[in-house]
């Protein structure tokens, strides 16, 4: 399975990747003013027309001022929350690695946006024939044996494309070779069950704008208990409700029968000239 290794210690914040993404995917520019985020960041966030974004973060590392750059984009999870969430499989994980989107079946419910722990899928709010958009890992290029556009454009090899297992080994090799120069955590190795985009950094990944506090379970683990209970609930309700209504009806039937019997008795008693009992009202 293909993956991308993004090493922020090599990123120089030049944003060739941002433009490469727009160029290959033919995305228009956004109207911006000054800077929308920290440092030189523009636009403000990922959007329908910005599928990858460099963040600029002033921080301290080992007591000294540091300026570090992060790259946000779709993480291409192994078991993606968006694909778990999508009611119609418009978002799908491909065996090649990319999580791809098919607008022809999408309902536009935007549940994928809600579900994605990395805040990735975007919606074209200003269009009538609107779509969900996000980084595709350049699935079209990958299918042609090429690397993603951002990866190719990167001048400092901060983005590397390849087989996930190899990249993971490479990531750990880099940490091992330079233990002082990295936080010992490959972001994406385990997050949300693992992703096909792996990040290395010399500051905590959250400082680069990556989501923190993520589970190692894939997103489907959150909804699985409820989803798995469906057949039990259905069967249980079917048996229970049927039984209850049968019992209730049976009881009512019996009561009604009893009533009927009593009524018949009364009639019979009346016919026999007896007075009715005083307890019934």
């Amino acid at each position: 399975m293909n993956a991308m290794l993004i090493d922020s210690t090599r990123c120089v914040g030049c944003r060739a990747c941002q433009i490469a993404c727009k160029s290959w995917n033919e995305l228009p520019s956004e109207k911006t003013q000054f800077f929308a985020g920290k440092g030189y960041q523009n636009p403000k966030d990922l959007s329908a027309t910005t599928w990858t974004l460099i963040t600029y973060n002033e921080t301290k590392r080992r007591g000294r001022f540091d300026w570090v750059f992060g790259k946000r984009q779709c993480m291409h999870c192994l078991l993606p929350a968006c694909a778990t969430a999508c009611p119609v499989t418009a978002l799908k994980k491909t065996p090649e690695g990319p999580v791809v989107y098919d607008s022809s079946i999408c309902l536009g419910c935007r549940y994928c946006q809600l579900a994605c722990p990395f805040d990735v899928p975007r919606f074209e709010w200003d269009k009538v024939f609107t779509k969900i958009t996000k980084c595709t890992m350049c699935a079209d290029r990958v299918a042609e044996g090429m690397e993603p556009a951002c990866c190719k454009a990167c001048p400092t090899d901060a983005i590397v494309f390849g087989e996930r297992s190899k990249l993971l080994a490479e990531a750990h090799a880099r940490i091992d070779a330079n233990p002082l120069n990295y936080v010992h955590h490959v972001f994406g190795e385990k997050e949300m069950g693992g992703t096909c985009v792996l990040h290395l950094s010399d500051v905590p990944h959250q400082e680069l704008g990556h989501a923190g506090g993520l589970s190692e379970e894939p997103a489907s683990a959150y909804s699985r208990p409820a989803m798995a209970s469906i057949p039990f609930v259905l069967t249980g309700l079917g048996i229970g409700l049927g039984a209850v209504s049968w019992v209730v009806n049976r009881r009512q039937q019996l009561a009604a029968q009893q009533k009927e019997i009593e009524r018949l008795h009364e009639i019979a008693e009346q016919a026999e000239g007896k007075e009715p009992g005083g307890t019934n009202s």
Partner: protein, 423 residues
Amino acid sequence: MTDFFKRTSSGLLVLYALAAFGLLLIVYRFVMGLGAVTNLSDSYPWGLWIGVDVLAGIALASGGFVVAGTVHLFGANKYHSLTRTAITTAFLGYLIFIFGLIVDLGRPWNLWRALFNWNHTSPMFEVAWCVMLYTSVLLMEFLPPVFERFKLTALHEKWKTMVPWAIVFILGIFTFAMTDSLIWTVVVVFVLLFWELVFRAGLSPRSIQMPLLMIIAGVMFSTMHQSSLGTLFTLAPHKLHPLWYSPMLPVLFLLSAVMVAPAMVIFESIVAERSLGHRAHMNVLSSLGRAMPWLLGIYLVVKVGDLLARGAVSDALSISWQSFSWWGEVLLGVVLPFTLFLSQDLVQKRVGLLTAAALVVLGLVWNRVNVAVVGMIDLEGDVYFPYWAEIFITLGLISLGILGYRLASLHLPLHEEETAATH
């Protein structure tokens, strides 16, 4: 407020105006896109419409299944007079909700795709199927008054024989879609068929008036649906505030939906009686009111217990907009009505009942808005507040619902005295 409709027809005019304006805005939305009429954004993909129109709307339509279930399955015949209004409300509620959903969906023309592109892992898939199928069931439940009104006796009879089979089919398909398992499908179908045969064999004519399988299916779908709306949010632990995020969300959603059902019936009945002139049976409503502390209490215990179990109490005790909103939902919407309903005096009085029921309804809506909107707000980023057009579309949809109910009330034999009259 209570005699809003009675006093003047201007109330009705306002409803028509709101509905018309809402529809106009909806047209505009389909010409200009969602961005033009909402403040929704990539940070807040779901807003007022999901919170109110969908989550609260569906919960408030729970009267249909709760009352129908209570009356027809549990044999609480004293509430029989309420079933038709409750079912009608639910049916209209669902229609409006589907309409609202189409407005909210980005690509509603693809809705039919849900029938063919199955994703068993998706809570939204479950929701979509529940919406479709439960609305079908509600339609079945809704039809008898229509048959009566138009004297379609033959059709009514046909309906009675066809419904059970339709129900078995629908639930079978649903089970298969949800589980992707033939075995489970066979199990569920078998259970249903079993009961149908049992019922056919030995139930009183009175009970068979509403096919029991239909009522059972209504309860099953509602249970699934109400809870699945909660399941939706289980996928968003990283976004939903810990005050609301819980693996128990499906249960909480279901419990609160059950809890709000009687309150909604009380509320509706008392409000509607003033405008439509139908006098609700006070003793029926009072007895509903007496059930309320139980329902509220169970919900409160589970909700607070869940909060304690998750260790999120500190969030409730911290000072923030979210904790404020949480306390509002709990105190005003659950604790206060709980104490009010406990008062025997109050439960006997219309104003008291109305007040307490309204608080429960308010609390439910508040809870759903909290989950869909308030709990999602990240105060460090953009803060979502609905755009005016969003609010007016919601108001328009609600107005449409009320007008629809009014229409049904005026033209269909929904109320006990009328049903009695037709017999």
